[in-house]
């Protein structure tokens, strides 16, 4: 089980959280101008890296707030957690995989 740090509540077991997939996926700036392929990208395509991944978690049975986590998808190590709106941290151990 993962140990994830909520930026407001501190470290808690994975079972307190709900997973929300890739972080930093902006809503299209000009939705009316998108082609079907671009809509497909926005709705269905997400990164799936083997290594560090910025993803969203909801502290569903705690403070009920969304936040972002940088986690390694191979070792499952949580490398950082940070509040929404904050930039993805640059960590030495995160390598160049973006």
């Amino acid at each position: 089980m993962l140990l994830i740090t909520c930026p407001w509540c501190g470290p808690r077991d994975e079972t307190e959280y709900h997973y929300g997939g890739q972080a930093h996926v902006p809503y299209p700036a000009d939705p009316a101008d998108l082609t079907d392929e671009q809509w497909a990208e926005y709705v269905f395509y997400r990164d799936n890296p083997k290594g560090p991944f910025a993803e969203r978690w909801l502290h569903s049975i705690g403070c009920r707030r969304w936040f972002n986590v940088l986690r390694d998808t191979v070792t499952y190590r949580v490398l950082a957690s940070y509040r929404p709106g904050e930039p993805r941290p640059e960590l030495p151990q995160a390598g160049g995989n973006r």
């Binding site: 089980m1 993962l2 994975e14 079972t15 709900h18 997973y19 997939g21 079907d36 392929e37 809509w39 497909a40 990208e41 709705v43 269905f44 395509y45 997400r46 799936n48 083997k50 991944f53 993803e55 986690r71 998808t73 191979v74 070792t75 499952y76």
Partner: protein, 406 residues
């Protein structure tokens, strides 16, 4: 009921060749799907100058880790067609491959625990029958006739309100399936190359002309990806994206028991699925871990939940011990249906996105993927499962019939 003895292995299985400089077709990944693809490339299309490249050992990925449930009771016409084609192939493969891989058509029960489950189940039985798939709706007492150790008491938290039943469904010995396909593909001249990781692609403009591997460059007229959980990693190296996410999915077995469990039982709602292996282990699976991962292990809390469900459904399991747990990495698509077809890279084809349920499809995945690679065009059975559906919106939403939470 007595336990069936395991069949003897043939003493010859496949050669261990050195990779050649070039092949007509290179298939990446020697799981069940890659091996079935090679087998049908040779058998159905006469294409035998083929290599199957495997980074680890043959069929050591999800093929060796799954709970071996085979069924074709999916909801939509496109899925019923491809999974039923697979089931018909399963029914003749042991003879065709001359290898008894213990395909046992003991039936599958998909339990309903809520009114909505009942409605979904009855609807699916209707849809299955219209598609020529054997399916029945069973009331709780009929469910108990099929599987007497199931607790159908109305006083459980999620009582069994009925079940769909597909009598032709079953299980098979997954390793033996892989070895059976490998032996026949090898017989027909296919090179099965283990310990050979594909690390990149050789391209001429938008066309693939070969692969980079841990054992050097190999030229190829056509390349087929059958890499399950690693498909998006490979696609990225080839220069395109796939709408798949890789998740850990785990399974576990108990120690050996006398035969007590005569069928396969799946529950979508309390989320456990159970069968008894030929040797006597209870084989159990659950849902995927919610997060993306490549670590080939799963979370303990998933085991805890699946055990709670199993013991309530099967009180007789209460004193069984877990012997082993393990995980595989499954590639999940947004509509819980696979992707089989062409890619934006010419001569590069993909078979992926089978997620939690691709073992049952092994022969049909190989059949249709071989057709696509051989002809450059989809087979009618895999045409609906093209990558383009995510842009056209013609999704094949099988989250209900996929039966594993993801």
């Amino acid at each position: 009921m007595t336990a069936e003895p395991l069949p003897e292995h043939p003493d010859f299985l496949w050669r261990t060749p050195e990779p050649r400089a070039s092949y007509d077709v290179v298939v990446v990944g020697a799981g069940g799907h890659g091996l079935a693809t090679a087998y049908y490339l040779a058998r159905n299309h006469g294409i035998t100058n083929v290599a199957v490249l495997e980074k680890g050992w043959l069929a050591g990925g999800n093929m060796a880790r799954n709970t071996t449930i085979i069924r074709s009771n999916y909801l939509w016409d496109q899925s019923a067609a491809i999974y039923e084609h697979a089931l018909k192939l399963w029914e003749r493969l042991p003879e065709e491959l001359d290898y008894d891989f213990l395909f046992s058509q003991r039936g599958v029960l998909n339990l309903a625990h809520t009114l909505q489950d009942v409605r979904e189940g009855v609807r699916r039985v209707g849809a299955n029958r219209l598609n020529g798939v054997d399916a029945q709706w069973l009331e709780p007492d009929e469910v108990a006739d099929v599987c007497p150790i199931l607790n159908i008491s109305p006083r459980t938290r999620y009582p069994v309100l009925g079940a769909t039943f597909q009598p032709r469904a079953g299980i098979a010995k997954h390793d033996h399936v892989a070895w059976a396909l490998a032996r026949r593909a090898d017989d027909m001249g296919v090179d099965l190359i283990q310990g050979c990781e594909v690390t990149g692609f050789l391209k001429d403009g938008d066309r693939v002309v070969g692969v980079e591997t841990s054992r050097g460059r190999i030229l190829a007229g056509r390349v087929g990806l059958a890499a399950a959980g690693h498909s998006s990693v490979l696609a990225q190296r080839a220069g395109f994206r796939l709408p798949v996410q890789s998740h850990p999915l785990q399974a576990l077995v108990s120690e050996l028991h006398e035969p007590v469990h005569p069928t396969v039982v799946m529950s979508n709602h309390v989320h456990v699925y159970v069968s008894q292996a030929h040797k006597g282990e209870l084989v159990m699976g659950a849902g995927v871990d919610a997060y993306n991962g490549y670590g080939q292990r799963g979370s303990f809390h998933v085991i805890e939940q699946q055990m709670a469900a199993a013991v309530e459904l099967f009180p007789v399991f209460a004193r069984a011990h877990v012997l082993r747990t393990w995980g595989g990495i499954v590639d999940v698509t947004p509509d819980a249906s696979p992707i089989i077809g062409t890619t934006p890279v010419e001569n590069l084809y993909v078979n992926c996105g089978w997620g939690t349920g691709g073992f049952k499809a092994t022969p049909a995945a190989g059949w249709t993927f071989a057709h696509t690679i051989a002809t450059g065009e989809p087979h009618p059975l895999n045409a609906p499962f093209a990558l383009e559906r995510f842009a056209t919106g013609a999704l094949i939403d099988e989250h209900g019939a996929a039966a594993v939470a993801h």
